[in-house]
Amino acid sequence: MDWNFISEYVPMYIQAAWTTLSLAFWGILLSLFIGLFCSLTLYFKVPVLKRVTAAYVELSRNTPLLVQLFFLYFGLPKIGIVISSQSCAIIGLAFLGGSYMSEALRSGLESVEKGQVEAALSVGLNQGQIVRYVILPQAVSVSVPPLCANIIFLIKETSVFSVVALADLMYVAKDLIGLYYKTDEALLLLVLSYLAILLPISIAASVLERRVRYAGFGN
């Protein structure tokens, strides 16, 4: 191990980790919105939209992010749609994540009993209020464990961002291996960086899961 080399390149990894994290943040945020929208259309069985959403969910769940990114980044410019690397990464992650989030939220929505909605109707809440005050709070508490799992999954998926010419952690590691043949050092830093990102999130997720377990009604 060449410790000088390691200390020299730590800042590069930190910067790359920062790139990964900020893209992951926007991608995940967007995927939560897409997921919420999709799960609500599926839950309320909105006529035409329901089919479109179902097709989208199947399409995005059954294809790898890598292939989606290739299509977005190398395929679409051929018909005049040029997207920057960053937007590509965010769109790709949101396209993939949206369906996973939708499934997670839908399982939560479906766990809310019919009696809850009926009771809400009988006290005179309108449709919007029922969703906002009755269904969502209960559904989200059930959905938290799968949502957390999806967030971790999506952060892990960001490791393919290097294919759309983004200097993420994988890119830096591969670069250092190629340039200096410092394989051990580069890989050690790579593993440590991902541990530094994912370990706290995974621990926070399990703490959060334990806390919201009591939020459900009647338990």
Binding site: T63, V67, F70, F71, K78, K156, T158
Partner: protein
Amino acid sequence: MQDLGIRVLLEGNNMIRLLDGLWVTVRISLLAVVISIVMGILLGMVMTLKNPVTKALTRIYLEFIRIMPQLVLLFLIYFGAAKAFNIHISGELSAVIVFTLWGTAEMGDLVRGALISIPKHQYDSSAALGLTGIQIYRYIIIPQTLRRLIPLAINLVTRMIKTTSLIVLIGVVEVLKVGQQIIEASRYTAPSAALWIYGTVFFLYFIVCFPISKLSGKLEKRWQN
């Protein structure tokens, strides 16, 4: 321009080459899945033991494999192990090793979950009947766990196939790489080939994974109770 692009797919044996590339991906995932299922069942059984040492070891293994992106694991084997032990591991072999390690961890956790979901009285009453440890598993526990396990294991196959797309990044010639070769070869004759080729690859993955995930969902629903 665009009709030129779609022609590339049908030219020569391009479509056959793409399918051959897809087969490389599918073959690696199937091989890894088969080994992972066998090893995962063993791992899952070990994980239910009360021994603190095996508990700690399997836990560390599981957490490490699950927290690392699969691409990092591929790099560790393909670049790291090659240098550390001074051996050459081909891209395909490292893919099988990595996906087996990963699949074993995932499968092990599924098996453990299925095993502990079996009520304790099932173990107790079979022990009371005088069955040995092996007999308890063979006749009582395994048949019940299989029903919970099979849909999840099938689902693992689709996850494995999707994840295997990463092997292009360690230099294995699979469907994406073949697609790139075709695009490069027809750069001047069909400039818009990339759209059609990558679109085709996208749908090829969908066509492979969709039926498998549908099957898994259907079995899960049917065997719920």
